[in-house]
């Protein structure tokens, strides 16, 4: 645990040292190049902002109106039949839509059931093998103005489903 945290603390400082050191070695004009690159990044983020506003407003509507709760309530009996822990249904669903909302629900489960309960362990593993589909897809596709996304959503959905089922399987196996 200590080593893990130490390693993750060291990643960023080391990245700086290596890149800038390597730059000097190759006689790159490091500061000038940095400023130019930063400007590119600046423009990119400003370019995403409209997408983000549109998306977050839509998700806000769904959240506040209770639609997201409704959908997960609707899904939970179905999941129960399939042997999926129903307490984890809202989180599973939210994980694919909104990262911050999912984090809130995760902490809720930790608080109510304990981080070391079956449920706590399962959602921890599940969270680390899934990704926020909606946000990722919109930001990446909208920044290049691609509207016909073909099989991207289907593929992402299958990948996340595999991650969720694998998490359930491995939690039952290990704990």
């Amino acid at each position: 645990m200590k080593i893990m945290l130490f390693v993750s603390d060291m990643i960023i400082p080391l990245t700086f040292i290596i890149i800038i050191g390597y730059g000097y070695l190759k006689k790159v004009n490091v500061y000038e190049v940095f400023i130019k690159g930063a400007e590119e990044g600046f423009k990119t983020v400003l370019g995403i902002l409209p997408t983000l506003i549109g998306l977050m407003v839509a998700v806000g509507f769904l959240r506040v109106s209770g639609t997201l709760d409704l959908i997960s309530n609707f899904l939970s009996p179905l999941c129960e039949v399939l042997g999926y822990p129903k307490e984890a249904v809202p989180l599973t669903f939210m994980r694919l839509v909104s990262s911050s909302a999912a984090t809130g629900l995760l902490l809720d489960i930790f608080k109510n059931y304990g981080a070391d309960s079956f449920l706590g362990r399962f959602v921890s593993i599940m969270m680390s093998s899934t990704e926020t589909i909606l946000y990722t897809m919109s930001v990446y596709f909208m920044c290049v103005k691609v509207t016909k996304t073909r099989y991207t959503l289907a593929g992402a959905f299958i990948a996340n489903l595999a991650g969720i089922l694998a998490a359930l399987w491995i939690t039952k196996l290990l704990f």
Binding site: Y22, S65, R150
Partner: protein, 193 residues
């Protein structure tokens, strides 16, 4: 696709709010969410600009080229349409590495630049290419080796062994990514017909 989903989300939200009696809260949700988006962007502005700045040094010094060279057999298998030495491949390599290390805020700018480079090679500008689909599906299959934030949350909630989920998490991440690649390859074949 997104054109349809976005409108549907808003309509659905309003419709449900009529039944749940949450109509008065919708105005707040709209204004608040728009502000949240700007706040998020302002936070990202600094971090992403810093990172793209650092990355352009790495790029100029030839560091990224060397890294993507090492990943070249794998990237060649995943993205047969992209020229080996193209900028797109370099940015994809950077994005994957940042994702593996769990530096999400570093992965996003590289990913966006990769998309922009792939778009330059795209003959039909409104339609995703095979490479774009593969790239995004892998991205959304989760690549992160260690979920440091989850471990931190577990520690916060007094888990006896917060890091016990790292091993299983690694296995499940691997499974979801392999499934992602297999299915995308199948989709590619089916779509080409």
């Amino acid at each position: 696709m997104l054109n349809f989903i976005w409108g549907a989300m808003i309509f659905l939200g309003v419709l449900v709010a009529v039944f749940t009696g949450k109509i008065p809260d919708l105005t707040g949700a709209a204004l608040g969410s728009a502000q949240d988006a700007v706040n998020l962007c302002v936070k990202m502005l600094g971090i992403i600009s810093m990172w793209t700045g650092l990355m352009s040094i790495a790029e100029k010094a030839g560091l990224i080229g060397a890294l993507s060279e090492k990943m070249s057999p794998l990237l060649g298998f995943l993205f047969p349409d992209l020229p080996r030495k193209s900028k797109a491949v370099k940015y994809i390599a950077t994005n994957f590495i940042a994702n593996l290390l769990g530096i999400g805020w570093a992965a996003t700018p590289a990913g966006i630049m990769a998309m922009q480079e792939m778009q330059k090679l795209n003959p039909k500008k409104d339609t995703a290419t095979r490479s774009m689909c593969m790239f995004l599906i892998i991205n959304m299959s989760s690549l992160q080796i260690v979920s440091v934030n989850i471990v931190a949350y577990r520690a916060e909630y007094l888990s006896r062994n917060p890091s016990e989920i790292i091993g299983p998490g690694l296995v499940t991440t691997l499974i979801s990514t392999i499934v992602a690649v297999i299915f995308t390859k199948i989709f590619e074949k089916a779509d080409a017909k």
